[in-house]
Symmetry: D2
Subunit: 267 residues, 4 copies
Amino acid sequence: MAEQYWESAVSRIDDSTVRIRGYDLEELIGGLTFTSAAYLLIRGALPTPNQTKMMDAVLTAVLDYALQKPGTVAARYVMSANPNVAASLASAVLAVGKNTLAPEDTARFAIDSYKRLTESNDDAVVVAARIVAEERAAKRRIPGLGHPVFKNVDPRAEKIKTLARELGFWGPQAEFYELIHTEFRRQSGRDWIPLNDIGVMALVLAEMGFTPDETTGIAIISTLPGVVAHLTEEQNSGRPIRIVAPEDVSYDTIVRDFESDKEVAGW
Amino acid sequence: MAEQYWESAVSRIDDSTVRIRGYDLEELIGGLTFTSAAYLLIRGALPTPNQTKMMDAVLTAVLDYALQKPGTVAARYVMSANPNVAASLASAVLAVGKNTLAPEDTARFAIDSYKRLTESNDDAVVVAARIVAEERAAKRRIPGLGHPVFKNVDPRAEKIKTLARELGFWGPQAEFYELIHTEFRRQSGRDWIPLNDIGVMALVLAEMGFTPDETTGIAIISTLPGVVAHLTEEQNSGRPIRIVAPEDVSYDTIVRDFESDKEVAGW
Amino acid sequence: MAEQYWESAVSRIDDSTVRIRGYDLEELIGGLTFTSAAYLLIRGALPTPNQTKMMDAVLTAVLDYALQKPGTVAARYVMSANPNVAASLASAVLAVGKNTLAPEDTARFAIDSYKRLTESNDDAVVVAARIVAEERAAKRRIPGLGHPVFKNVDPRAEKIKTLARELGFWGPQAEFYELIHTEFRRQSGRDWIPLNDIGVMALVLAEMGFTPDETTGIAIISTLPGVVAHLTEEQNSGRPIRIVAPEDVSYDTIVRDFESDKEVAGW
Amino acid sequence: MAEQYWESAVSRIDDSTVRIRGYDLEELIGGLTFTSAAYLLIRGALPTPNQTKMMDAVLTAVLDYALQKPGTVAARYVMSANPNVAASLASAVLAVGKNTLAPEDTARFAIDSYKRLTESNDDAVVVAARIVAEERAAKRRIPGLGHPVFKNVDPRAEKIKTLARELGFWGPQAEFYELIHTEFRRQSGRDWIPLNDIGVMALVLAEMGFTPDETTGIAIISTLPGVVAHLTEEQNSGRPIRIVAPEDVSYDTIVRDFESDKEVAGW
């Protein structure tokens, strides 16, 4: 049998039936919350009630962050120039990356670290200490730690961790990450550095079986309703083209002469 | 008092408290489903249980459409070249527009049409007939009608309409749109043309108070979990750079001579 | 003969030869400027020296506009959060639309207006007056006119117009648009309203044979080198996550109680 | 003096004068080709004639690659769903990354490698051998080498290299990269693996002083005129919504029962 160029198990269309992971879409409408549907689509199986509860908590962890989230601001600038929701939301999506909102680095780090533990014969504390020492020697940040505002404890992260413990999504992988956290505080002397909200999202979603890339996808979805709300505000703001006020910018003030410089350049 | 350049009521950050539409984010985590949170963010108030139920139905109406949704295919091509979730999801977002998935045109049409009805002294059937006649004369499509697969009835649309009736989100605006639909079938003779899934999403969301732009924002969110699932498949496909197979393309086969053509062009 | 699903005449790959509009790419490298290559790709034929000269002028018309171009600002916000050039440039591209930088509306208007003139038996001034009267009655802006800074004359637009006249790219279509401009100033009494830079780009590119959509594509390309320069500045700024300073925002300050409001909502 | 939140030296607006890197924009229009303007914007100084010539060659190195460039295909899918040039071009931009078109990895590698050479007391061949051995041990690809079609020699890369040698943009950094290339062929036994077009773009642009991020920005610009041409084809194709033909997809065919599975999941 010839192999097709594409392969997919997410959904398929048979005549007039759309099957989502094998289920008739018509039955899902009204039968599933969006959160459960998202779980089904990505993980390929219906969630248990606890899985849905956990995922709802994760999806509400970073709902909005005022005009201190770069993606929201970018989206509002785009909307002011090109009043199109898709274009503007896409800009907010594109601002999810290394410096904000992407849990994937923490998820990868937690998964890799735990793998090293399971492959090692050493004690967990020893492995954690070794990992921290290596990261520090290579001057790499340990992803998931630290927050510009919260010291010691990020209350949103704690809330999710508590729920995760209750619902059974705080397993050995997350616990080993916490050991690494403790070691980091010890070795660095920065005792106040907390586990942050994106870090805890990563640990819980990885525990639920999502891949690192999928954790970022989920974080992106969680951030969009707030952006939609901001786009409505932008539309109602009465400002057609947003700028940065000249008094907030230090502009270079050199004046150059084109004709003479062109000659000097050899033209 | 000086007026600030920006204004926002979506959220704000006071010291260590993030307030979402006035509520402490810490309380919302675990206290609200994502769907309720999305409603709160966009509409500015907590939803009733019926509003959440309705919105969950709308958010699950178009969960995935296999490799027959252009945005999903675009996202997989991007992922194959640039294995980055944010970039790939953004491409899927950008494929929401005039030809697919954007309820805004239907929402605008339904709102404007109903406004004409309320401002007129004529009977609803007369106003509907006039609107249809105008659209047909201007050769404009009536948005929300027609589907490439379904004739007469789009079963997903019917499911949502039934739920909307039960839950109280099928009001006079939607009913007037249905009158227009009936008139369209009569005047065009195309009796088989159904109300489609995007059309019904538009009518229900407009009835709930969302603006046309917001209906597109919500449709975009609803489509993303499926795309995340496809991106994982793409990553696992083992194909680093997707192409279109040469046998599926009719390429122009002219061969031209650069040097002689350049001379002809005057260089 | 079976018809393929895709069709293309832009380029093709034969064994190891890439043919661009029929020419061997190897010969083009070093044999054509980028501007000439862009013309060849889009228009399908080699440009004359005058066409290249004209297009270079158009491509340099709006090189950069400091932090007063929303797309540049959006791109810098994205870069600060997700330090990735492709994601950031994409945001700048997405800010090209109705309110800034997209010549397509003017190009469409100029082409449609001129078509009306050629199909009419009336004098050009009469047709122009009629078009202006219609647009004003419908409260539509005439695209291509007006600038926030320049009154009477946009010097960049004048410079391009002068070049277009010299090089033969200011034809009857552009001249009829100018008649409409004159009529608009007469009818509106707003005598100071100039033809702007984007408007003149539209007129010249349409005269050269580019479609309205292509004029926007060309404007997008012309704007990107400046954005690349801004992204380097952003990387060197030492600010990892850009925000809007809280003192520049008027935030809503309502505090609400989640538990009691939830009860009121019926949960 | 208070420090402003933003800083920029790319352009500024004084009353009615736009200054691009210090030059009056009005003088640049008609006085500079787009390629020279791009150099000026990004590097901050007027190019010499040789620099412009070199950059034109680089900008024409990968003009188009038929429907075998994932970004072009993604852009056409987006255009078919959302007929908007900005949205579609943005998708093509987003497909520039690790697997295609981004010279930044090669540029970084070449710069870092050369730095190691200058900091070492060892012979260049020894340092090259050491670098290759390390990369091979870590199972990392050496960026810039290899091509799916061309073996031994990528003729476009050779053309650019020849020009770079003539014009003085093939310096010790590029030469050391070539030593690494030679070493790689020796150590791996894969004697046929060529320097590719993206690799040579990286080496030349780095030699000219562009940063790795900027090389990707320039590659993105170079790829867009071809995409604009493809978007016109897509608009003229008469296919409103592109799909992947069902016969090209291997779909999972499991059918599941929602109600019973829901019960099993504990609802």
